[in-house]
């Protein structure tokens, strides 16, 4: 096989950038599934909602898609809190969450998708921004801004949330809430409130993830399904509850997929990435940085 050094280097770098995108769409699940034990399989649907929010801001108001997402953040946060409240009252409070809760999120996913189809139709939508289409050239390396900007936004979000979780009382409580709710109450913290805030944050990240998605590729309402498997795989691979692990897993998956696509063709990419997941879990059942 004849693969040039430049091609390999570019494949690794675009894999790294792809990993940044994967991290952005996985942050929310790293919170809800990794820290709160809430299997929110509707998360990719919320990301699509974020994509359409960015689309509206961009095409009707001429806003940068990232800026549109930042404006949408508080609304997504409130939406997340509302969704958690329904989930809590209907399922978690009655200890009914495992199966019925799962079907609740499954239903939510379909409702969101159908809602988007009814409003926006099934056509692909995209956004305009100056950096889409341009590339940063450093010698033989070519980094498209379309991937570079999402990578930076994603990393800033991850670092910001990581600091929040590690340095604030609320953040520490979020990390502990799934381990022992009574113990948390004995620390004077209300676990339901903590989970509501955390789930709100998790959905808020979907606004950013959605903007990033629509910058990278055109979207249609059901495209989120493509990512459900990957997003959960990344969280499990990284180790539940660990943000740094999640980022390492996202980047690993991004690089492995890009390299596989470059060397063996795109159809092998998913097989190889899930192969990586299986092997890692066989060696380290708690994931790369799982506690």
């Amino acid at each position: 096989m004849d693969v040039s050094y430049d091609l390999l280097l570019n494949a690794i770098l675009s894999g790294l950038l792809l990993g940044g995108f994967y991290a952005a769409v996985s942050i929310g699940v790293a919170i809800s599934f990794g820290m709160l034990d809430i299997v929110n399989i509707a998360h990719p649907a919320f990301i699509l909602l974020g994509s359409y929010a960015a689309f509206i801001g961009n095409s009707y108001f001429g806003l940068d898609p990232i800026l549109a997402a930042v404006i949408a953040l508080p609304f997504f946060y409130l939406l997340g809190m509302a969704v958690y409240q329904v989930y809590y009252v209907a399922f978690e409070r009655r200890d009914d969450q495992s199966l019925r809760g799962l079907s609740f999120f499954f239903g939510l996913m379909f409702i969101t998708e159908v809602g988007l189809v009814l409003i926006f139709g099934v056509d692909y939508r995209l956004v305009q921004a100056r950096y889409i289409g341009e590339s940063l050239r450093l010698g033989p390396i070519e980094l498209p801004f379309r991937l570079l900007v999402p990578f930076i936004v994603s990393m800033v979000t991850v670092v910001g949330l990581q600091l929040f979780l590690a340095k604030t009382f609320l953040g520490r409580a979020i990390q502990a809430v799934a381990q022992d709710q009574l113990a948390l109450r004995l620390m004077a913290a209300n676990p339901v409130r903590i989970k509501r805030i955390a789930f709100g944050l998790s959905i808020a990240t979907a606004a950013l993830g959605g903007a990033i998605l629509i910058i990278i590729q055109p979207v249609e309402p059901s495209i989120g399904r493509e990512y459900i498997g990957r997003v959960f795989a990344i969280c499990v691979l990284g180790g539940l509850g660990s943000f740094s692990g999640m980022v390492i897993a996202a980047v690993t998956l991004g690089i492995v997929e890009t390299l596989t696509s470059t060397l063996f063709g795109p159809s092998w990419a998913p097989a190889v990435s899930f192969g990586v997941l299986l092997i890692t879990l066989a060696v380290r059942p708690s994931g790369i940085l799982g506690r």
Binding site: F169, R172, Q175, Q179, D180, A183, M187, A188
Partner: protein, 243 residues
């Protein structure tokens, strides 16, 4: 200022099973009071009633914190802890996947404790040097004795005025039991606390208790006004000393 706890005529139970009947207990300011009794007599249930985890069917529980009286029945656990009452539950209930330091930081969640976090952390690390050595270790990977120390330290991080400890000796080797009991005394003096301690291990508990109550089948069977009175009580001989 002084903090005390008064439990008056409390009844409590689970569904149809009545566990506590007309229980009255006084913990005066600055005292260490032992709640004695073997397994299944209602010690833990009484502790849970005080903390708002089990709701009494009758009676009142009043805490006086720094001179202000609060009725605890009807408050949530969070509200009770926020008043300045800390509880070390049976089984310790640490956050096993968080580090020792993270557990201690969580202890200071209560707004009043946050400002004093640094100072209380230094105090805890001084009282429990082992915890300082293991600050980065996950709580779940420590030995039983270390976990009990962490549970005590975490409760103190909330800067409480009243400390409740449920069965500190359970699952510990005899040497560790006496060390834990000594620590409770040391911390009580250091933090100027009022302490109520439920314990099966009579001989250990009585070493640091000013007074004690013996609870049998959910009723207070004997109230000892001094450690001596408890030592010389027939009930205690019968239960603990096999005489």
């Amino acid at each position: 200022m002084a903090s005390s706890l008064t439990i008056a005529n409390v009844d409590a139970g689970y569904a149809a099973v009545r566990v506590l009947e007309d229980v009255s207990i006084d913990v005066r300011a600055g005292e260490t009071v032992a709640l004695l009794g073997t397994n299944g007599n209602g010690k833990s249930t009484l502790m849970k009633c005080i903390m708002g985890i089990v709701r009494p069917t009758a009676g009142s529980i009043t805490a006086t914190i720094d001179g202000a009286a609060h009725e605890l029945v009807g408050l949530t656990t969070e509200e009770i802890v926020d008043l300045g009452i800390a509880f070390v539950p049976e089984g310790r209930r640490l956050f096993p996947k968080q580090s020792v330091l993270e557990n201690l930081q969580l202890g200071a969640y209560r707004p009043k404790a946050r400002a004093a976090l640094r100072q209380n952390l230094d105090f805890c690390f001084e009282a429990f040097p082992r915890l300082k050595e293991r600050a980065k270790q996950l709580a779940g990977s420590m030995s039983g004795g270390e976990q009990q120390m962490l549970a005590l330290a975490r409760a103190l991080m909330s800067a409480p005025r009243i400390l409740l400890v449920d069965e500190p000796s359970v699952g510990l080797a005899p040497l560790l039991v006496s060390r834990t009991i000594d620590k409770i005394k040391e911390l009580k003096d250091g933090f100027n606390l009022t302490v109520l301690m439920a314990e099966q291990n009579f001989t250990q508990a009585i070493r640091i208790a000013d007074r004690g109550y013996v609870i049998v089948h959910g009723r207070i069977a004997f109230a000892g006004e001094s450690a001596e009175a408890l030592n010389n009580n027939d009930l205690i001989r019968e239960f603990y000393l096999g005489a």
